[in-house]
Amino acid sequence: MRNLKRLVIVFSLVFLLVGCNDQKIIETLGLMSVMCFDKATDSVEGNMLVTSTFPSITEESNRKETTIDTIAFSKKDAERKLAAKTEQEIVNGQIRSLIFSEDFAADGINQIIHSVERDQEIGSQVKVVISEGEASAILEAIPTESTGNYVDKMLRKESDQFNIPYLDIHYFSRDMHDDGIEPVAPLVGIEDGEVVVKGAALFRDDRYVGKLTIQESKLLLLMRGKVKKSDLVIKIPQETGYRTLYFTYNHSKAETKVKKKGTEIEQVDIHVSMVGSLLEDTGTKMNGNSSTDNNEVQKLIDGYLSNEAVRLIEILKEKKADSLGIKGYVRNSLTYQEWKKIKEEDLFQKIPINVTFSVILQNKGMLE
């Protein structure tokens, strides 16, 4: 028993002491919370302009954000150069988001993604964001002190409401390496000096190829799979002005089926079924005799969504971005030899995709 005790003491003492060997003192650290990547042209110093912010702890210990930038050839090169510009030791373990400008992302961000994944200090829940215009402008427009957290929270809120797709480093890398789907990133921009979530950024492999509005990205999410809870504002043109419907749905499911004729792929069917409630309708003048007709509303929403879906698929096909993962469904319906044969062709553009909706109105709020 005494020996066992001694064992425990040796165990803990020795291990605790070794921990002191690698020290990091928090006051001397510059904890980067965000990194912005812009394209740098005509510079011998590098091809990317990297901007980062970190809290600087002054003598009065009031926290202030310092923003610095540098031109570099790679992410790590940038970190080294940023560190040279400050008295703090720059560490990247607290990075929350990476913001890429459209120009930069259009050339491919593979290199950065792999650099982040290789870095053991950085976790895999780091958000990847695309910005309209300059990425560094986003930093300036954010009002709070903790920039990285702000972007992180804003994106999490939006993706929880199923307005934009959720995306972190792991998701991006996973879809980039998958031959059946392409990544979709959130897109932010600046409107009147405020940071706004604009929609979704489409990728082909690691290259940014196009963007979707919020409304389109909602539809994309509907067609991609399960949506827990979201809403749609539907504008239908009338003789005078618009009829606006507000439809919130709690359950939505998408089923994707590949139709084959022998070994040829005929078409891909996506069927979206959604259940929800109507909470606004500007089209009907209600009185005691007439109420909103369930079937009519369902048809209206159905028709609207079908039209939009056709438009969305045209956009995707034009950009050659298989954000819906259609190729994945096709792959899983084939044998390996068949898949290998057709894999390299521009499969996604060729396959006709048919989207159908079934909308069920569960209730109409507190009015009939």
Partner: protein, 361 residues
């Protein structure tokens, strides 16, 4: 010293010897060597291992003599066996040292980069020495505590369920793989440890006739943990991503973010030390038995020191991740050969002795 290991504890002991740091690399090994749906291979190899365990159970059932040494020495004299014992002892202790080096090197990817790796290994060896000094019953008791402290980690996988998709599994089986033979050896080495039951059985409580079943149960726990982790990895990573991720299971753990702690992987990985320690101690313990049989004058303390020092000297130059990997592959292959070969040799010896008319114990 008269206390015996209960069958239930034997099962846990077997699981703890088997599972080790291989788990962290296993999904990647499967993806590289077998390609799509490589996780199925875990089940197939596990089945081969069961046959291997069956061989061992036959040895134990038909044994003539109290332990492995008595079986062998009934036919071949100790002097002839002596170099063989020594060689076996050195192989196993080398394997143990390599496993611990592997563990330390992965630790240093995560933390303690500025510390000299040999210092960490020496610390680990001090722990091994202390635990190795105990009798096997005490080791098995300690193992039980280690088991409780580590088994819950498997449940962390629940966190990943929302991030998985069956689409990524693909219907293709073992396509885009590179080297199936090497892969099978690697997975097999991941299961190694069960062969130590050949040396453990004299210390097990054999009052229940079905005590050997617990070896299968131990192996079953290992299979479940391995297979479910690999299956989860195939659902969570895409195939090409899995191929380039060095330690997929570390990434899995790193993805777990709870409100309280954010980067739990460095904490969880350190808990793995206990699993490594059990593997280490049991292999060294078996080596000690062999060495002491060869040179009966040695005390436990002396033989422990000799084996640990020999193992460390032999692997002195092996300090880089790639080297450790290659050495582990070779030594692991030898150890796998031993796991299959030993029971077969023992069965032949038993066969000859039965034919000669030796009495069963």
């Amino acid at each position: 010293m008269s206390e015996k290991i209960a069958p239930f504890h034997l099962a846990i002991l077997i699981y703890m010897i088997q599972s080790g740091v291989t788990l962290y690399k296993l999904p990647r090994m499967l993806a590289v060597n077998f390609g799509t749906n490589g996780w199925i291979m875990v089940l197939i190899v596990s089945f081969i291992v069961i046959i291997n365990i069956l061989l061992i159970s036959l040895v134990i059932r038909f044994r003539i003599g109290e332990n492995v040494f008595e079986i062998m020495e009934g036919l071949i004299s100790v002097k002839v066996m002596l170099p063989f014992y020594m060689l076996l002892a050195v192989t196993w202790s080398l394997l143990a040292i390599l496993v611990s080096k592997d563990f330390i090197l992965i630790t240093q990817v995560l933390s303690l980069q500025n510390t000299n790796s040999s210092m960490l290994i020496v610390i680990l060896m001090v722990l091994t020495f202390y635990l190795g000094m105990k009798d096997v019953y005490t080791i098995s008791k300690a193992t039980n505590i280690f088991f409780i402290l580590t088994i819950w980690m498997t449940l962390l996988m629940i966190y990943h369920i929302p991030h998985t998709s069956f689409l990524r599994l693909t219907p293709f089986i073992f396509k885009e793989g590179k080297n199936a033979v090497e892969g099978i050896i690697q997975v097999y080495t991941g299961f190694l440890g069960f062969e130590l039951v050949l040396f453990l059985f004299p210390y097990v409580d054999q009052s229940k006739p079905k005590w050997f079943h617990s070896v299968y149960y131990g192996h079953l726990i290992t299979t479940i943990v391995y297979a479910s982790t690999c299956f989860m990895s195939y659902l969570y990573f895409s195939l090409d991503q899995l191929k380039i991720t060095s330690y997929p299971v570390l990434n899995l753990i790193a993805y777990v973010e709870i409100e309280l702690i954010e980067r739990i992987e460095s904490f969880v990985f350190n808990l793995f030390l206990m699993k490594i320690l059990v593997t280490l101690v049991l292999y060294i313990w078996a080596s000690c038995l062999l060495l002491e049989r060869a040179i009966p004058k040695l005390s436990r303390k002396q033989s422990l020191v000799i084996l640990i020092v020999t193992g460390m000297l032999l692997s002195l130059k092996v300090n880089v991740m790639a080297d450790v990997g290659n050495w582990l592959l070779i030594v692991g292959f030898v150890a796998a050969g031993l796991a299959v070969g030993l029971p077969i040799i023992l069965l032949i010896v038993i066969g000859i002795r039965t034919y000669r008319g030796d009495h069963r114990a």
